[in-house]
């Protein structure tokens, strides 16, 4: 199988699994609490990642990390908050509406961040194509919510 086709299938599988992971974390949240679930998610993720990268976590990686700006290490803190918020919203809204809202807010905010060059991004002005895309997303979310 050509690599590109494999990569396409892997991308699809990753998307399917992402929906599954969001549901699993939220259900765990209903069992043990939303923050507790986020803790377990990050703890098990740590162990699994360690399994995958294990031997490749050598001294030079730690040295590189020590030199890295502190804000680059805050992804995990944001991640805890993301999983927690997903755990709060998914049981109330259902997975599809919750994920639709995640995606919509993501596309809107990244377009705004692009436009103004926030977060250190090089500015990309909003184009007509992007406005049409965002309007379609908005219409889609409204249909999922009220349709």
């Amino acid at each position: 199988m050509p690599r590109r086709l494999t990569a396409v299938l892997v991308s699809m599988a990753a998307g399917l699994l992402l929906g599954v992971a969001i549901r699993l974390n939220a259900t765990l949240g209903e069992y043990v609490g939303v923050l507790e679930s986020s803790f377990v998610v990050h703890l098990t993720g740590t162990l699994f990642a360690l399994l995958l990268v294990g031997a490749r976590l050598n001294r030079s990686v730690w040295a590189t990390l020590r030199r890295a700006p502190r804000h680059e290490l805050t992804g995990g803190v944001i991640g805890v908050l993301m999983v927690l918020l997903a755990n709060v919203t998914v049981p109330q809204l259902g997975v599809a509406l919750a994920v639709s809202l995640f995606v919509a807010a993501d596309l809107f905010f990244s377009s705004v961040a692009d436009h103004f060059g926030w977060l250190g991004l090089r500015p990309i002005r909003v184009s007509p194509q992007r406005v049409v895309g965002l309007l379609l997303v908005l219409a889609g979310v409204l249909l999922v919510r009220f349709g």
């Binding site: 590109r4 069992y31 507790e36 995990g76 918020l85």
Partner: protein
Amino acid sequence: MYILLALATGTITVVSRVVNAALAIRIGSLRGSFVNHIVGAAFAGLLLAVGLRTGVLRWSGIPLVYFLGGSLGVLIVAASNYAVQHAGAVVFAVLLLAFQLISSACIDHFGWMGGDVIPMTLSRGVGLALIIGGAVLVVTDRAARRPADAASASPSPSSET
């Protein structure tokens, strides 16, 4: 209320993506994912340790499958490495987004993995299709006007903060 919280989730996703991209350029995305998870576990553990509680942390009586979400997240990072390298960041981003919505709708429809049943309807299906179509326009527009970004997951300083 829950809608606003869900929108907040999507908004901070953007911040996390920019931060993680910068870290991934430094040490690679899988090792970056390890750092993310260990920092997250320490942070959430600290919140629990100082007495913040939203439930009761227990291990027994819960089907094992519900403990797999964290590992799946790491697996998706590994998948993104491979997919971005061989299919490109735009193809990966669009397919990830589309199939995430498709699996979410299936999970709701059948009430899989402990959720309420929310049946698929025509308008819901059209709504999801519109989101996917709109996202394709947004993502391809971004890539077209910032060519360096199409390779953002490979070492390139384009998303450095």
